[in-house]
Amino acid sequence: MALITQGIYSFLSVVGFSVLFNLPRKLIIAASISGMIGWLVYYTFQMQDTNFIIPAFMGSIAVGIVGEILAIYKKQPATLFTIPGIIPFVPGYGIYDTMRFVVEKDFNRAMTKGGESLFIAISIACGIVLATSFIRMMRPYIEKTLFSASK
């Protein structure tokens, strides 16, 4: 049940950010679906009580794979789907917390939060790069399945 509501919230949130980033209208739904899948993967892993890196890493791999496949299908650069897609788990809250702790002169917690945000950003980037290179490898095969199915 929580998965369904979380999916809807993340979908709508990514729709909002797609408009902010001036994404072409006909791609908004596709980008939001990639964002939703990414957030659901992130959420599922977060529920498992693992460390803070795994959820962001897995989520961005999902966004990367979905984004690249959509990019092949819609014949657009993959950035159009991955930039709005990673928005839900980009460490914005972490950056805000870091700022807040600095303001409160709590430098220990500020450094902890700041480091955490940095590592989340690194793991998101790693996930996207990994997914991209994987899909590049599989590209001929994916094109064959996608375009033979649509004919």
């Binding site: 909002g16 408009v19 657009q76 870091t98 700022m99």
Partner: protein, 258 residues
């Protein structure tokens, strides 16, 4: 190919790269596009070097080295422009358009269609507002964050037309995002309702934090573009510092009120 033609091709390639870089495309994509556009018309020895604030290009034109430096000022993320530039470069390399047509396309690239203002404002409320739910906030906090985000984007859009330094712009952005949050909280306190300040501030702030620049910077670093990656990460760092300034001022001033 005459010298004149070669110069036109280089100009078109660079201007396309400029549109992409200005609107937030990754550096490797810009390098790739410009190189391909130049090579498709038979230019030799094409070298392109891109950093987030400029494009350097050099090619061999009839035995002479021709070098262009294009200074670019990043303007934030506009995915419509990237999509159009990509389509244009694909047509150009596929020899579907000639030089005169290409200049017309370039003109159009500089004026991409934008969403209507009210759609943008409503959507920004959605973007910031639904974040509250993702972080486990309540419906009431969602409504507050919705209005705070919408006002913040309205404000930063108005600021974008003024020629301000990016640091000052972000200080003001952070200041007003948290100011709207604090005002919302003060009103709810006056009405004897309960809402968490963190939740209401994070919504509008989410439209400003440099999460995407940070991630893109690391992505450039991973793929070996050390200079471009460092530049993007420094940009993200300084945007975060500027936001912290703005938020910090408001939190400090409101500490006695809340």
């Amino acid at each position: 190919m005459t010298k004149e033609q070669a110069k036109h091709i280089i100009k078109i390639a660079i201007k396309t790269g400029r549109v992409m870089l200005k609107n937030g495309a990754e550096t490797y994509r810009v390098e790739d596009t410009v190189t391909r556009m130049a090579q498709s018309k038979g230019l030799q020895d094409v070298n392109v070097f891109v950093i987030p604030t400029g494009i350097m290009f050099s090619a061999d034109v009839m035995g002479e080295t021709y070098t262009v430096l294009e200074r670019v000022y990043p303007e934030g993320i506009d995915l419509e422009s990237i999509s159009r530039a990509n389509e244009f470069s694909r047509k150009f390399t596929g020899n579907q358009i000639d030089t005169a047509e290409a200049y017309q396309f370039l003109e159009a690239l500089n004026q991409p269609p934008k969403f209507k203002k009210w759609v943008r404002i409503l959507a920004s409320g959605m973007g910031g507002g639904f974040f509250v739910f993702l972080f486990g906030g309540s419906l009431f906090e969602f409504v507050l964050a919705y209005f705070a985000s919408a006002f913040t984007v309205l404000f930063t859009d108005a600021l974008a037309t003024k020629h301000l330094n990016f640091f000052i712009k972000n200080i003001l952005g952070g200041f007003f995002a948290s100011l709207f949050g604090v005002i919302c909280i003060l009103i709810t306190r006056a009405l004897n309702l309960d809402a968490s300040l963190n939740m209401v501030i994070i919504g509008p702030l989410m439209t400003l934090v440099p999460g995407v620049s940070l991630t893109n910077g690391i992505r450039d670093l991973i793929s070996g573009e050390l200079l471009a990656g460092s530049a993007k990460m420094m940009e993200a760092l300084f945007i975060a510092i500027a936001l912290a300034f703005g938020v910090g001022i408001v939190l400090q001033l409101s500490i006695h009120l809340l």
